[in-house]
Each structure stands twice: as structure tokens, then as C-alpha cells.
Symmetry: C2
Subunit: 304 residues, 2 copies
């Protein structure tokens, strides 16, 4: 069991648990649906990363809790919409029925929409700091969320179809030549940008200069790649109980993954290489990075 | 034909037409789907209102174009999601096939998500002004969009079902006693808050004081009520060609409306009363309001 910055995770969990989204009886059910998905557990990697980067930049982690929570709300909204019947049509997530199974498709769509709006509201109303920095940090977050980020990546995912998934046996490397650029672009958008934003947002809030930002950015981008390779591996190797959903769902959906392109063994090597690159990028940062090291190791070795 | 501030409308239309959402080939199709719905025409009431309020507050209207466009993007996103099969299941809007009919349900959901994200991005990256004012104006907009506004109102709409729509003949006033509070709350959230935000956002950007804000807020709230009563009337009286969709869709969906609650004749009286109240509120504003008067009259007499 690799260590994890549990103090930061507890700060996040407590803050999320205290959030209420509905101020009136008429929308109480919507607020409940939003909390159902938000409080479904998980390691809170993005907001913990946000707090760890704040600490690394010399700020008090708790100061960036509104921004960190906003990132987790956006991540949760994306999971609800990705699980919809019109998208991946998944009925289980983290061992629990997905939002549309519990509340119906209409309410699930609105729970996602509501989480997105309340994320931006939380950030713009509650995040302290110089207004110009708060605004710039918010711009980084929504840029990572929109067409040049998460939403664009999901679009790529649903429209790419089964292209490039034909690889098997000795054909891996050849297929990789066809699909690896598309795969990197897809994941860079779909998961990479939001993970990178989790590191960059607290640095912008702390007023870090461009040189420092560059070192953190190189780390954050490599961490996003590592996260995705491991995610693809776990979908194949994880047990249903560990994953909280039936394993092998990527393959059933005909998804382009590191495992479908390269095979399991090569994907594991790529994960190890990516982990080493992320640690090298961390070592180049001229500031304390102990929590960020823990998170990097955790992402590499996690079982779910 | 009532006059309309066409100079402001042209500014809006041109600005929206120039917007591009995708910077890479992989997401070009998503950007196209977003533009399909955004550029479907309409009177652009919300952004024109935003520019008119800016002019009333002594600012150059063009200065608030990023904020005004952001509001129209959010309005467009809400229409795409409202039209989805899981919501109102509408196949026509402004005489054209709705997003999910043209692009499929998955892409339509993402086009809505993308418009929301790009709206906030536009606002946070391109709206000029003191950063603290830009941040406060953005907070007002997302508050009007979230659970305490548009998304919450749509939730109320889909979950209220057919409650309170049984009114017919002499039962109107009695039924009104049951349903009118729910109706006002629903529409205040679903359409009223975003219309009010269209007026309030440019005032916050202009640094208006609390007293001036109060006068504009009273006008904006009444305008939202007027807009909705007329909308409900047009759904019954408008021709398919004028509406750009089959009329009577509220009734088919069993929606709670001013007409279902009060009958057509009383709804028309309520619209006239609401129009008079909005004009009275306008007269109390200590600043030029010529464009806002045009918009108020237009909203009352519009045929689509």
C-alpha cells in the first residue's frame, strides 16, 4: 500500500461533504442527486493534487479548497454525463448505480449541468485571492473543461468509434503507428488537461512566475499521461470489486486504449517510463514536492 | 411591427458569427454542432438586453459583447439540453431540426456542455473591466444558471409533471390558487433569472451602486415575468410557421403554464398588467432607458 497525503484528502472530503446546492424545497431533489454522485467516494486525486500543489508553492492548502472542490464537481459532472445511455451507457460506477439509473435520464443530465454551474459559482464567489489571479485561474480551469479539454476529449471518444482498435498479437507496434497520436490527443484532452489544471490553478492563485509554472506544467502533463495508461491497464486487470464496475468495459465499448494499441505488457512498460518521467519533472521543481511525489507514486501503483 | 434596437442586435449577431470553438481538427465537428444551434437566428433578446443596459448605465455597448455573447451561449446550451429525448423530446426549434436530430444524442449533450464551458471561458478571458467587477458579474451569471436559476427551473419543470394543469372553464381561478406559486417559482428560476442577469451583469461591470441596481433589478424581474406569460400565450396562439415548431407543445407535454392555469383571456390581461409594471419600473430608473423601453414593448407584442 503506497502512502497518500491523507491529511489533504480529509480536508477535501470534509469540504465536499459540507456543500449544499439547493436553497429551496422545489429543487431539493436535484441537490440530492448532485450530492449522490459527488459523495460516492474515490481518492479525490484532482482536488488533493490541487492542495498539494498549493503547499508546494508555499500557500496554505486550505486556502484553495473552493478551487479544488470546483475541480472535483466538474470531474463528477463529466462522469454523470459520460455514463448516460446516449454515451457509454454504464449502470455501475464505484460499486453504485449511476445517476440516470437512480434518478432517471432527465435528472441525471440536469445534475451534471447543475454541478458544472455550481462549480463555477463556488470558484467565483468563494475562492479568495487577488481578483485578477482568481479570474486567470478560473479561465485556466474552464479552458481545460471546454472544447480544448474535457468536453472536446469526450467528443473525440464518442466519435472516434472503433478506429485503431484492431491491434492484436504481433500487430501492436504497427497499429500503434496508426492510432497512437489520436490516442494521445484524445486523452490529453479528456483527462490530461483537467489533471494539469489541478496543478496549475493553485500556482496561478499563488502568483507563481512563468518559469516556475513551466516546471510544474511539465510534471502535470506527464502525470496526466501516467494516469491514463494506468486507467487503461486497470480496466483489463482489475477485479469487478476493485473497480466498482464490470472490468473490460473499454474493450466492450470498442475504445481506443493503451492496452488495445500496445498490449498489456508494453502498456505496463509505458506506465513505468511515464512514472519515471513524472518523477524527473518533479525533481526539477525548485520547491518542496513531497506530497506531489506521494501522489505520483500512488497513481502508478493504484489498484482502482 | 414594434421597433427593436437593431443596431445592438447587429453587434450581437456579428460577434456571435465570428466565434469559433474548435482549434483542432479532432473537435471540428463539435464546434460545428455548437455553431449550428448558436446561429439558428432568433431576436437575441438576452444579449441585446445586456447591451441596452450597458448603454443605459453610460457604457459603450460593444464593451460588454463578451459577457452578452456568454449569456446567449448559455441560453443556447439550455435549449439543446431541453430539447433532448430524455427531456422535452422536441425535434424542431426555430424551424430547424434540433441538435440531437442532426448530430445524435451524444453529440448534442456535448454541444450543450461545450457551449456552457466556452461561455464561461469567453467571459473570464475576454470581458474587459476591473477584475473584481468581472468576477462579481460572472458570479451573478453562473448563479442565474445553476440550481438557484435556469438548471433548477428546468428540474422543476421536468419533475412537476402534470400537477395543476387540470384547470378548464370556470375552474381557472381555483386552480390558480393551487398552482400559481409553483408556476411563478418555476419560471422565475427557469427563465426569469437569466433575463434578469442580462440586465444586471452589465451594471455590475459598469460599477453601478446598490441603489441604481435595485431599480434595474425591479425592472428586470418584471420583464422576466412578462416574457414568460407571452411565451405561454404564443405556444397556444402562434402558427407553426411563426413559432418554428408545432404549436400547442406545452399542452401536449402537460406543462403548467399561464394559459393552462388562467385561460387565454386572463393570461392576456396578466401580460398587459406585467407590461405596465415593467414600464413603471423603467420610468423609476434615473438614466436613459430608450432601448430598454423598445425591448419591453417588443417582448409584449412579439408574435414568435
Amino acid at each position: 500500500m503506497v502512502a497518500y497525503p491523507d491529511d489533504l484528502r480529509e480536508l477535501v472530503e470534509h469540504y465536499l461533504g459540507e456543500l449544499r446546492f439547493s436553497e429551496r424545497a422545489a429543487t431539493e431533489g436535484l441537490g440530492e442527486a448532485m450530492r449522490y454522485s459527488l459523495l460516492a467516494g474515490g481518492k479525490r486525486i484532482r482536488p488533493v493534487l490541487c492542495l498539494a500543489a498549493a503547499r508546494s508553492a508555499g500557500a496554505e492548502p486550505a486556502v484553495v479548497l473552493p478551487a479544488a472542490a470546483a475541480i472535483e464537481l466538474i470531474h463528477t459532472y463529466s462522469l454523470i454525463h459520460d455514463d448516460l445511455p446516449a454515451m457509454d451507457d454504464d449502470e455501475l460506477r464505484r460499486g453504485r448505480a449511476t445517476s440516470h439509473v437512480v434518478y432517471g435520464e432527465d435528472v441525471a443530465i440536469l445534475a451534471g449541468d447543475g454541478l458544472f454551474a455550481e462549480a463555477i459559482r463556488l470558484f467565483s464567489e468563494r475562492q479568495s485571492g487577488e481578483p485578477d489571479r482568481v479570474l486567470a485561474a478560473l479561465a485556466e480551469l474552464v479552458s481545460a473543461t471546454g472544447v480544448g479539454g474535457m468536453v472536446g476529449g469526450q467528443y473525440r471518444d464518442v466519435t472516434l468509434g472503433t478506429a485503431g482498435t484492431a491491434a492484436s498479437g504481433g500487430e501492436h507496434e504497427e497499429a500503434a503507428g496508426i492510432g497512437v497520436d489520436a490516442l494521445r490527443e484524445l486523452h490529453g484532452l479528456k483527462t490530461g488537461r483537467l489533471i494539469a489544471a489541478s496543478v496549475l490553478v493553485p500556482l496561478i492563485l499563488a502568483g507563481a512566475d512563468e518559469r516556475a509554472m513551466g516546471a510544474y506544467r511539465r510534471f502535470a502533463e506527464e502525470l496526466g499521461v501516467l494516469f491514463q495508461i494506468v486507467d487503461d491497464i486497470l480496466d483489463v486487470t482489475g477485479s469487478d470489486a476493485e473497480l466498482g464496475k464490470p472490468h473490460g468495459s473499454d474493450e466492450r465499448h470498442g475504445k481506443l486504449t493503451y492496452v488495445s494499441l500496445f498490449g498489456l505488457e508494453r502498456a505496463r512498460e509505458l506506465a513505468a517510463e511515464s512514472h519515471a518521467s513524472a518523477r524527473t519533472a518533479l525533481a526539477a521543481i525548485d520547491a518542496p514536492t513531497a506530497d506531489l511525489e506521494l501522489i505520483t507514486d500512488f497513481i502508478h501503483t493504484r489498484q482502482r
